[in-house]
């Protein structure tokens, strides 16, 4: 047996090493974050000044004393050409568009993916690729026929016309298809033997299994829908259907009666328009990461 000796650990006074790598990383990240934060901060500070100051002196770096007033006016003062629409209504319209858009996309793409993956359709693969190629045809490309169709159906100035033409989603279908293909086939077979028909299997098994996935896609699509500009501009002429994103522009462009545009209110509205997407991403980022990276099968 070897002798066991008790050695006192030799004190090594090594200088604590400075991790330059970590400092470098953080510097880059902090600079990036600041760069991203500056425009909204400027918007906030500028929104606290009155229209005259902004018009004369441009963006403001300091806080003025009109912040509350501008926000109040932006949210509750009837404005626009017809003097019927205020910020609250536009906020509601934006929510209807954002939620309707996201839900619609999820429902449609889940059902499409379900059909493609679980049913022995003759042309399932072809159908999938056809859906996939529509990625090459975004709304901007097919805007004339889309408008024509909606207009002929008499759906201009309706929420239906605003939402339905946008909800077909190749991206969503693709994500759900990949997810469904990773669900073990035996699950469907076990459900079949357990007496669950196609609809029950979808509702009882597949939808609950996809919930993180649904949450992730909801977040992406909500932000996407919220920020829609071109289609709502085309399809709604009635101001009571205006969304926030449109409303901002409306304020800036109101040069009627040689009035100074209400830049402060526009910026206040811009900040309001930014909050919901940011909040959704901040609060649901865990779901978001989970949905796109893992699944409990």
């Amino acid at each position: 047996m070897a002798e066991t000796t008790l050695e006192t650990p030799v004190e090594t006074h090594r200088p604590r090493r400075i991790k330059w790598g970590a400092i470098g990383d953080h510097t880059v990240l902090i600079l990036g974050a600041l760069l991203m934060m500056i425009p909204p901060l400027l918007a906030l500070t500028t929104a606290s000044h009155d229209a005259v100051t902004i018009h004369r002196e441009g963006l403001q770096l300091t806080l003025g004393d009109n912040l509350g007033k501008n926000f109040h006016a932006a949210m509750f003062e009837k404005g626009g050409f017809t003097q019927t629409v205020d910020g609250t209504l536009m906020l509601m319209n934006s929510f209807i568009l954002g939620i309707g858009f996201a839900m619609g996309k999820i429902i449609i793409s889940m059902m499409a993916a379900y059909a493609i993956v679980y049913f022995r359709l003759r042309f399932a693969t072809l159908a999938f690729w056809v859906i996939f190629t529509t990625l090459l045809l975004p709304l901007e490309v097919r805007i004339l026929p889309s408008y024509e169709a909606i207009q002929k159906l008499g759906l201009t100035n309706t929420y239906t016309g605003l939402i339905v033409p946008l909800i077909a989603s190749a991206t969503g279908t693709f994500f759900f298809r990949q997810f469904f293909m990773s669900v073990p086939e035996e699950l469907a077979e076990a459900a079949r033997i357990d007496g669950a028909g196609p609809w029950k299997f979808f509702v009882d098994i597949l939808v609950p299994l996809s919930r993180t996935m649904i949450a992730a896609i909801f977040i992406i699509m909500f932000v996407f829908g919220w920020n829609q500009y071109l289609w709502p501009t085309l399809i709604t002429t009635d101001e009571s259907f205006f969304t926030l994103v449109r409303g901002i522009k409306q304020i800036v462009l109101s040069y009627t009666d040689s009035q100074i545009p209400e830049h402060g209110q526009a910026l206040a509205l811009a900040i309001v328009a930014m909050i919901p997407p940011v909040a959704i991403v901040v609060f649901f980022q865990n779901w978001f990461v989970k949905g796109l990276t893992e699944s409990d099968k």
């Binding site: 077979e189 669950a196 609950p208 409990d296």
Partner: protein, 348 residues
Amino acid sequence: MAQVSLEGIRKVYPNGFQAVQTTSFTIQDGEFVVLVGPSGCGKSTLLRMIAGLEEITEGELKIGDRVVNDVDPADRDIAMVFQNYALYPHMTVRKNIGYGLKNRGTPASEIAAKVEDAARMLNLTEYLDRKPAQLSGGQRQRVAMGRAVVRDPALFLFDEPLSNLDAKLRNQMRIEIKALQRRLGTTAVYVTHDQVEAMTMADRIIVLNAGRIEQIGTPSEIYHNPASTFVASFMGAPPMNLIRAEVDQKQVKINGYDALMVASEAFSGPITMGIRPEDVELDAQGQVKFHVDILEELGAHRLLHGRIDDQPFSVMIGKEDTAHTGETRIKLKPEALRLFDKDTGLRL
């Protein structure tokens, strides 16, 4: 409870591959039948056809008195246990077990009572409110069993249910499944590639090879009287020794040695001779020379692996017997010799 009969069942996949050749057999009421064979032999396809998950190309399948070829799996009165358990991951054990009943419109109070009963039978009571991810492999296996027994079906179907478990648990579950089936008296079809499972659990074994039935019989018949060299080498561990031999004037001989046994008169010429390793004895006066290469210690007995001339051969001896590597002599029990056709491998 039901008798299951397959008549002229055949399966050809759309790509032309014939997974199961024309097959007929009947499973008696309450019988435990094991389908065994190497991977790709069609055993799972056969089971899935009985389950209704795979379409039957040709033939007639009856469960009880009813032809079920075109009956939906849900209406065949069967329950199936899958290799990967196929539990619904988002449901608790209670819901997993009760799901089939719920879909059939069973009243909630009755479901609750039946689930409790099944859980008690399978020692799952304390896990009823857990999700599958919180259970061990053996417990998940039990939940899968619970899902099957709770519906009290006419027929249990098992698709390699134990192959995801470790060896010790597998031995234990094997006994549990068998005991449960005995107690319920439900007809069962069990698919496995593990010949030990087949031997220990089955009332009758069906050995399949390349989409064809090689032999149907009780474990003892299959073991002692294999119908072909395939069955002989597939069933039993270590497998039956198969060596070249010759029949000459009714005398069975390995070349260079005296006659080992007297054969019936129907044939002569080269054959394949089989003998189980435990039917061979070390004997200094034995008629055959055996060269031992490796000595395998298994505790209860020992295996000697070596050669007779150039042909591989194994001998099993008791733990008291002494043995060493190198040249020795063996005696083959004449009554244990089995003769097979050299070319077709069929029993002569």
